[in-house]
């Protein structure tokens, strides 16, 4: 009889260890995914001055728009709190979208290899930011689900795991139509 109790106890301990490790693994994956977003944001900040300098010569009548992008960029770079930076980054996304849309009006621009390369770099950075956030949110969802379902919630509450925070898209961002670069100029 004794060894049955022992076996059950051993299984229970093993189960706690496995679920604890799964939660820690997920938590670290979430932290890593968050850093990935930061890397992409930094890359975007570095690319924008290049783009603005390159297109400035062509876009004589859009100096104001370009200034706005640079302003949005410096706000995004200097903002410290998570909430401020999210708002600033969203504003930056929008102003960049405006530049891309305006670029369609300048055939010379579209023939410039340098501009095309920068545009592709920025497009991919924008996409990478989106996908990094998406992956981050997917991970957070898995992490939170693992903490909430029975019997995982026993382990989670015993070791005091906190639910992860979703990366929410700002309300103002939702109404903005996607910039379609394939539209005729």
């Amino acid at each position: 009889m004794g060894w049955v109790v022992l076996a059950v106890l051993a299984a229970a301990v093993l189960w706690v260890v496995v679920s604890y490790n799964a939660l820690v693994t997920l938590r670290n994956a979430i932290q890593n995914a968050w850093k990935q977003i930061d890397v992409q944001l930094k890359r975007r900040h570095d690319l924008i001055p290049n783009l603005v300098e390159t297109v400035r010569g062509y876009m004589k009548y859009e100096q104001q728009t370009l200034e706005k992008v640079m302003e949005a960029r410096s706000r995004a770079v200097t903002s410290t709190s998570v909430k401020d930076s999210a708002a600033a980054e969203n504003a930056l996304t929008q102003s960049l979208g405006r530049i891309f849309a305006l670029m369609e009006n300048y055939p010379d621009l579209k023939a410039d290899d340098n501009v095309l390369r920068l545009q592709e770099e920025l497009t991919t950075t924008e996409n990478q930011i989106t996908f990094a956030r998406q992956y981050y949110n997917d991970l957070v969802m898995r992490y939170n689900t693992k903490q909430e379902v029975f019997p995982g919630n026993l382990v989670a509450s015993f070791f005091d795991f906190k639910p992860g925070e979703f990366f929410a898209v700002a309300e103002t961002d939702k109404g903005v139509p996607r910039v379609d670069l394939s539209l005729p100029a």
């Binding site: 990935q36 592709e120 990478q128 996908f131 998406q134 898995r142």
Partner: protein
């Protein structure tokens, strides 16, 4: 297939476990097959069973050692073998199209949480793509130059996401084992066939009677068909799954749907792809007559599900996505 789209990330471990079992099964069948052939050669040609023959089996250990060598090679350098047999080259980042591909692969690696796979290109006008590698750290993704010319950014993204879904589910490992072991089996049956018909052994076989010769003959005849069916069975359901998972990465099923439509309309055979590698590809690189049909027979013989059905399912996913508002 809508279920597969909704079911979320948790499925990967189940799929990986299934693929692991399937891989083990195939390796087991492969070894048994070599054992059978080795034993058959021992008994038929070396007279192992008679008192006058050698005291120890000779062909059986040789066949098993060959099987082990092929299996190890399949696992550790199979992807390089496949890539070089198709003439794949590393990306040339000075070309805008290939730089764009590199960026798209990077985006999808982020979306799927996979490490960045090595990316290759095959210079061939036929639009197609495949992924290979024993795990996500040794994965390779390969597209043809024709695909880059034909598809726009969004469509290429759908294709890349589909291939990364294969890597994520460890389909690529199974497919790798299948294609290299398949090549091994075909090679061996050719060899057995040659030695069977060589004049030196024919009289002896004839003396032994038809009872033992018939199983060996059957083995020789059936082996290519058998291995072929094996490769197909593991390939078709996987394509639907990878389509669904890929759409989960891009959140845009229409990208891949449009890509498949364009590929269907432009399809031409990929010259360097053989029977041994056909099942690796996004769409069948061989003649597309069977791919277009549906029904039990076509299902049995095709390495890929019918394109029309894949496109229809992707469109349906897009519709579902709108309704649920995700």
């Amino acid at each position: 297939m809508a279920e597969a789209f909704d079911s979320g990330l948790e499925d990967f471990s189940a799929r990986q476990a299934y693929n692991r079992r399937a891989s083990r099964f195939i390796v087991l069948v492969f070894f048994l097959f070599f054992l059978l052939i080795g034993a058959a050669v021992d008994f038929l040609y070396f007279d192992f069973s008679t008192p006058g023959g050698p005291g120890l089996p000779i062909a059986t250990p040789i066949a098993l050692a060959t099987a082990a060598a092929i299996a190890l090679m399949a696992f550790y350098s199979g992807s390089e073998l496949i890539l070089s047999s198709l003439g794949a080259e590393r990306l040339d980042l000075t070309l805008p199209e290939q730089r764009e591909l590199q960026n798209i692969v990077n985006e999808m690696a982020l979306a799927s949480g996979l490490p960045m796979p090595k990316t290759y290109v095959v210079y061939d006008p036929s639009p197609n793509a495949f992924a290979t590698g024993r795990d996500e750290h040794h994965a390779a993704l390969c597209v043809t130059s024709g695909l880059l010319v034909l598809l726009d950014r969004e469509e290429t993204q759908g294709v890349v996401a589909h291939e990364l879904a294969h890597i994520r589910g460890r389909d690529t490992r199974l497919m790798l084992i299948v294609s290299v072991l398949l090549g091994g089996v075909v090679l061996l049956s050719d060899w057995a066939q040659r030695s069977f018909y060589s004049s030196r052994t024919r009289d002896r076989v004839a003396g032994r009677g038809a009872l033992l010769a018939i199983p060996l003959l059957l083995l020789i005849i059936v082996s290519p068909i058998f291995s072929r069916l094996l490769a197909m069975a593991v390939s078709r359901q996987r394509e639907y799954l990878a389509d669904a998972t890929g759409a989960e990465y891009t959140r845009n099923p229409l990208g891949l749907a449009h890509a498949l439509e364009k590929i269907r309309d432009a399809a031409m055979p990929l010259t360097r792809a053989g029977r041994g590698t056909a099942h690796l590809f996004l769409v069948s690189p061989l003649s597309r007559r069977i791919d277009e049909k549906e029904g039990a027979f076509a299902d049995l013989l095709s390495t890929h599900p019918p394109l029309a059905r894949r496109i229809m399912l992707l469109y349906r996913m897009a519709g579902l996505q709108k309704k649920t508002g995700s």
